[in-house]
Each structure stands twice: as structure tokens, then as C-alpha cells.
């Protein structure tokens, strides 16, 4: 009797889980399909935009890398993203350390301001920066893009680095200073080496977010400062060219690399702790 009711319960649980699993699988597919589908399309022919492609070639990549109106934006985006990443990381690491280890008046207000790009729509910042930068003739310049992007990626980098600092043992820092290390020496020899994985992850995301950023770049773009994402945005609107599939694949692969490196870095810190 008991065995029978258990069997029914078991069967009922299994149905419940099966339905849940099938539904979840559908949602995973919905989430993943758009990122994945561009890959086969990008190896298709230059004459048609079709899935699945009828014939496979590298034509689209060849066109992409040999057309100046695509390669120039690619190099610009790369340059802007690299410089943004370096500045944002250098600023974010000490700021994150201060946020975790110190208390000071106005701290919450300052955190709110730094984190505001996570909540306030990009278009609001984009318009404000556009109006503001036109006073300094910074619109349409790479410098303007780098300044705006640095502000925009800073909260992401700070969140990741802060999470890393929160896991550190403050006693090691006290210990080092007790043994006579100055604050600077303590930071360089005790804090920083433990933080490399978080700093690496923060920098990677800074690069990715700057590289993918569209809205602010769209407002600041000038004839010679069209980033890859801005070029892509207008290309999707005005000419559904199959070359966009090649660009999309490059961007997806970039996201995948950042994702996987991040997972690996997190695993490493878990093992260390």
C-alpha cells in the first residue's frame, strides 16, 4: 500500500519535472537562438540572406575585412574600447577598494551617482553628453567617445572588482601594515596580487561593453568617428546586407570568449578561497 502510494508520488513528481524541463528547454532555445543563428548565416553566400544557407563560403568575411567603411569602424571601436578599458580599470580598482574598506560622508550618494548608468536609460545620458560635449567641440571625436564610455563602463567594472575585494581577508592588510609596510606597499604586495582575477574580469567586461555600446556612440558619432556598432545599427536600418551576419558572428564570438574567461576566472577564485 505504502509502496504503491510512493510510486504514484514518484510518477507525479516526474511528470512535474518533465513538464518544467521541457518548458525550460524552450526558453533556453528562445534565449540562445538569436546569438547562435547568425553564425551559419555568416558563412553563407553574399547574394542571399538565408537560413540555412544553400552554399557555404567565407565571402562575407572577405568583404567585411576588405571594405574600408567596415574596417575603419572596427579599428575605431577597438581603439576606443582598449583605451576605455585601461582608464576605467585604473580608476575603478582604487575606488572599489575605498568603497569596501572606508566609510565617509556622502558615500551612498557617490555610489548612487557612479552606479546611475546601470539604471538611467542610455538615451538620457547620450543626449546630455551630446549637448554638453558640443560646448567643448568633443562631439565627433574619439576623445569624446572614450570619456563617455569610461563613465558608462565604470559601474560594471567597479561592481566586479568590489565583489572581489569583499572576499579578501582584511586581517592580511592589517598584518602587513603592522609589520611596517606603508599603505602603498601593502596595497601593491598584498591586495593587488589577490585581486588579479577580479580585475581581469572587470577589464574584460569593460572592453566588451565599450565595444558593444550603441546609444551614446550613436549620438556622439561624426563622419570619422563611426564605431562598429553605430555602423552596424545604421546598416541594419537601411541595407539589410548579409555582411552584417559576419559582423554579428564576430561580436557573438567576442561575447562567448568574455563569458567563458569569466566563468574560468570565477572558478579559480573559488578554488583559491
Amino acid at each position: 500500500m505504502a509502496a504503491k502510494s510512493n510510486a504514484i508520488k514518484d510518477w507525479r513528481n516526474r511528470i512535474f519535472q518533465l513538464v518544467g524541463g521541457v518548458l525550460a528547454f524552450g526558453v533556453y532555445l528562445f534565449l540562445l537562438a538569436p546569438s547562435i543563428i547568425v553564425i551559419p548565416v555568416s558563412f553563407g553566400s553574399k547574394y542571399e540572406l538565408k537560413f540555412p544557407p544553400t552554399e557555404y563560403s567565407l565571402d562575407l568575411y572577405r568583404i567585411f575585412f576588405s571594405t574600408e567603411s567596415w574596417t575603419q569602424p572596427l579599428f575605431l571601436s577597438f581603439r576606443v574600447a582598449v583605451i576605455t578599458t585601461i582608464i576605467a580599470t585604473v580608476i575603478a580598482v582604487p575606488a572599489a577598494y575605498a568603497m569596501v574598506r572606508f566609510d565617509f560622508t556622502g558615500k551612498k550618494l557617490l555610489i548612487g551617482l557612479i552606479m546611475s548608468p546601470l539604471v538611467i536609460p542610455s538615451v538620457v545620458f547620450a543626449l546630455g553628453i551630446y549637448l554638453y560635449f558640443s560646448y567643448f567641440k568633443l562631439t565627433g571625436t574619439a576623445t569624446g567617445l572614450i570619456i563617455a564610455h569610461t563613465m558608462f563602463v565604470l559601474p560594471y567594472t567597479m561592481v566586479i572588482v568590489s565583489a572581489g575585494i569583499q572576499k579578501l581577508d582584511p586581517n592580511l592588510e592589517f598584518g602587513a601594515m603592522l609589520m611596517g609596510a606603508g599603505r602603498f606597499r601593502m596595497l601593491m604586495t598584498v591586495v593587488l596580487p589577490q585581486l588579479y582575477p577580479s580585475i581581469g574580469a572587470g577589464a574584460l567586461f569593460a572592453f566588451l561593453i565599450s565595444f558593444d555600446e550603441v546609444v551614446i556612440s550613436w549620438f556622439l558619432a561624426g563622419p570619422t568617428t563611426t564605431t562598429l556598432s553605430v555602423k552596424m545599427f545604421s546598416a541594419i536600418q537601411w541595407e539589410i546586407s548579409p555582411v552584417i551576419a559576419a559582423v554579428s558572428t564576430i561580436l557573438t564570438v567576442l561575447s562567448l570568449i568574455v563569458c567563458l574567461v569569466n566563468v574560468a576566472l570565477q572558478k579559480n577564485t573559488e578554488i583559491q578561497n
Binding site: 524541463g21 534565449l31 538569436p34 538615451v123 543626449l127 553628453i129 549637448l131 549620438f219
Partner: protein, 276 residues
């Protein structure tokens, strides 16, 4: 003591503070300033409130944001529930399926949806093949396209907080409910759902906050009549060249986001305090 700490923190925080003040705060002030033409005029606000274009855009923004957030909640909950039931190892692996789309450029996803939902896209081809008749549903350049695109972007945002609150539920509660004879459906309704309510609220609020400011998806997957507020900011800046009105729309968008963001932040603070 506080001043001492501030002096210690000063050099660490100064570059970030200066950057945020000059490049985040000043532009926001600029928008408020421009929208009122220097604090003296409400003309820009009066003129947009009277314009049909604005009224339609604000209506579209509210309806689309609401629908997209609710659909994302359902989809996100399904995924979070599935993830919560896996072993830690499998969960980490499956998480990549949520994280990769989360970090994929919104341009890539929008472009992909033109391939999937277009007139001769994947969905229509599949339906034609299934039914044997020519199916050409209009799934793109209208509101459906916008909601599908936005839902795809927002679902991961719901998964993270809901999963966190599901994992915080004590497994003993499930065993107790089962021992007492509750069926899976009843356990879900009386244990899982109420205990994950904070995650649901956090997820749906952050989805709403994000969705109000959407710009790329309506521009690429919507039709002319599906302009949202963010697109209107662009329209007035670029085509009408009226920066006062563009800023006024920006201010309204900012206020709408704040209405949702403030409760979301208070909620997060309360949850963090609860956890300690």
C-alpha cells in the same frame, strides 16, 4: 573619525568621483536645464504634452514595457526554477546558456530576429512547411517584433534575482510539505511561489526599469507607429533639431524610470539587511 576616513579614502575615490560628476551628473543637469530653457520656461513640456506623437509614444512605452516585463517574468521564472533544481555543477554549465545571450550585443540579437521573424524568416518557413500552405505572418516591424526582442533581452535580468531567492529556500520545507502529503502543484503554490516573491518583485521591477528606456529594439524591430520615448528623444534631436523638446522627453523618461527604480532599490536594501 569620519573626516580621517574621508582623508584616507579621498585619493582612492577622487578620480572616479570627478569622472562621475563631470560626465554623468553634469549631462543630467544639462538636460533639465535645456528642457526648461534655463529654468525659465515650460514651453517645451507644454508643446510635447499637446503633441499626438508624444502621447502615442508614451502609451506605447507603458504598454510595451508592461507586457514585455510580465512575459519576461514568466519565462525567467521557468528557467530559474529549472536551474534551482540542478546540481551546482550542472547549474553552472546551464548558466552559460543564460549568460551568453545576456552578454551578446543587442544589435546582434535584433538583427537575428529579422532573420527569424521576417516575411520569409525561420518561423514563417517552418509554419509553411508544417501546414503545406504559404504562411506569411507579420511578426516584425510591428509591436510583436518589439515585444519579442525586448523579452529576449529582459528574461536573463529576471532569472538572476528569482534564482537567488529560490536557492535561499530551505530544502527542509519541501521535504516537510511532501511528507505531509502535498502534491507538487500544491507545494509550488504554497511554498515555492510565496517564498520567491522578493525575487519576483526585484526581477519584474528591474525589467520594467530597463524596458522603459529601450531604444535599439523599437528602432530595428518596430514599425513607424511603435516609437517609444527613447526613440522620440533621438527623433527630436536628429530630425526636428529641437533640443529643448528632446530634453523635455528625456526628463519625462528619467522621472518614469525613477518611479520604478526607487522601490527596486529600497527592496534590494531590505533584502540585504534581511540576509545579514
Amino acid at each position: 573619525m569620519a573626516t580621517n576616513a574621508a582623508r584616507n579614502a579621498g585619493p582612492f575615490i577622487a578620480p572616479a568621483a570627478i569622472l562621475s560628476l563631470l560626465v554623468a551628473l553634469v549631462p543630467l543637469v544639462f538636460i533639465f536645464y535645456t528642457s526648461t530653457v534655463g529654468g525659465t520656461s515650460t514651453e517645451a513640456f507644454v508643446s510635447i504634452l499637446e503633441s499626438n506623437l508624444f502621447r502615442r509614444a508614451i502609451k506605447t512605452t507603458v504598454i510595451v514595457s508592461l507586457l514585455a516585463s510580465l512575459i519576461s517574468l514568466v519565462l525567467g521564472y521557468i528557467v530559474a526554477l529549472h536551474l534551482a533544481r540542478q546540481s551546482a555543477r550542472r547549474r553552472a554549465a546551464l548558466m552559460v546558456l543564460v549568460l551568453l545571450p545576456f552578454w551578446t550585443s543587442i544589435l546582434v540579437k535584433s538583427y537575428a530576429f529579422t532573420i527569424i521573424l521576417g516575411r520569409e524568416g525561420l518561423v514563417n518557413s517552418f509554419l509553411s512547411w508544417m501546414t503545406g500552405a504559404e504562411v506569411a505572418l507579420r511578426l516584425i516591424f510591428n509591436r510583436i517584433g518589439v515585444i519579442v526582442g525586448m523579452t529576449n533581452y529582459l528574461t536573463p535580468l529576471v532569472v538572476f534575482p528569482v534564482l537567488a531567492s529560490l536557492l535561499a529556500i530551505d530544502p527542509a520545507l519541501y521535504r516537510a510539505a511532501e511528507v505531509m502529503g502535498a502534491k507538487p502543484g500544491r507545494i509550488f503554490l504554497t511554498v515555492t511561489l510565496p517564498l520567491s516573491a522578493p525575487g519576483i518583485l526585484a526581477g519584474v521591477l528591474s525589467a520594467a526599469v530597463m524596458s522603459l528606456g529601450f531604444f535599439i529594439v523599437p528602432a530595428l524591430l518596430g514599425g513607424r507607429q511603435d516609437l517609444m520615448l527613447a526613440n522620440l528623444v533621438d527623433f527630436y534631436t536628429r530630425e526636428v533639431l529641437d533640443w529643448n523638446v528632446a530634453s523635455a522627453v528625456g526628463v519625462i523618461l528619467f522621472v518614469m524610470v525613477a518611479v520604478f527604480a526607487v522601490p527596486a532599490m529600497l527592496l534590494r536594501r531590505r533584502q540585504q539587511q534581511g540576509a545579514h
